[in-house]
Symmetry: C2
Subunit: 129 residues, 2 copies
DNA sequence: GTGTGTCAACGAAGTTATTCGTAACAAAAC
DNA sequence: GTTTTGTTACGAATAACTTCGTTGACACAC
């Protein structure tokens, strides 16, 4: 039986997913090296997490020339959307828009980013007509 | 010593904060009643959380005619901003804008909300000139 | 004053998340 | 062939979060 999708990845799991999303695929050692740049982390700690994530179905692996090569089993964008939905639910009365506004408020956007957002808005407006 | 601000409120704490933000102030019983509408919750469970939140400094209370009346000690908007920053950090490489865009993507906004966002954008644009 | 109801305090237990030591194993180096 | 190195697997310790039963204090009704 699959886990309920209500459970989000933990902080540690998300860090590892981030590395796998960036690299596409990686061994435990590679993930460990990447994470070590940001903060002290034990190799077996990372390994353990990745084993747990296998059990949860968050990542997949294949054996290749003696080592395991891991890949994310969940797409980055979908996971981000879930996390946003989840946070909107928990802290914004369910409104992803309120969340978006709070995110925009405290931010210096580049003109390119502002354009991107405007296009999104236009699309949204078109969508409702 | 105060807790590091890095620790976000837990899910349960956030639910309680939400009620207190809405009501302004409330007793344990009132919070419990509100939460019970959404899901089964034990009274002493809520009480325990609120005692823990007192210890953490998330809420304050005053004794009033035999019962304790609680209030949030952290402002709603500031907490929301922190949570957004935190999620941006953990899942969007630190970019609150990427987060905002992801939030806007999967959303049907009302015209009023779209206007509000446009005004925010205009402000942002003015801000950088 | 005894009973009833409301509430706060406390302690304990269950669950999940985090961390890492130790062992097992195989390939490569010697 | 023994040692070293890089890896996976396992198990356990700790901490954080969640849940609730039990107890005791107080006040109001009778």
């Amino acid at each position: 039986m699959p886990r309920p999708s209500s459970s989000r990845p933990t902080d540690s799991e998300l860090e590892i997913l981030g590395v796998l999303w960036d690299k596409g695929a990686a061994t435990v050692r590679e993930v460990h090296e990447e994470l070590s740049l940001r903060k002290p982390t034990g190799y077996t700690t990372v390994l353990k997490f990745m084993q747990i994530m296998m059990d949860k179905g968050l990542i997949t692996r294949r054996e290749q020339h003696r080592v395991h090569v891991y890949e994310s089993a969940v797409p980055r964008e979908a996971t981000q959307s879930e996390l946003v939905r989840d946070l909107a639910q928990r802290a914004f009365g369910g409104s992803a828009l309120e969340l978006a506004m709070r995110a925009l408020e405290s931010n210096r956007a580049t003109p390119g980013e502002l354009d991107k957002i405007r296009r999104l808005l236009d699309q949204a407006e078109k969508g409702r007509r």
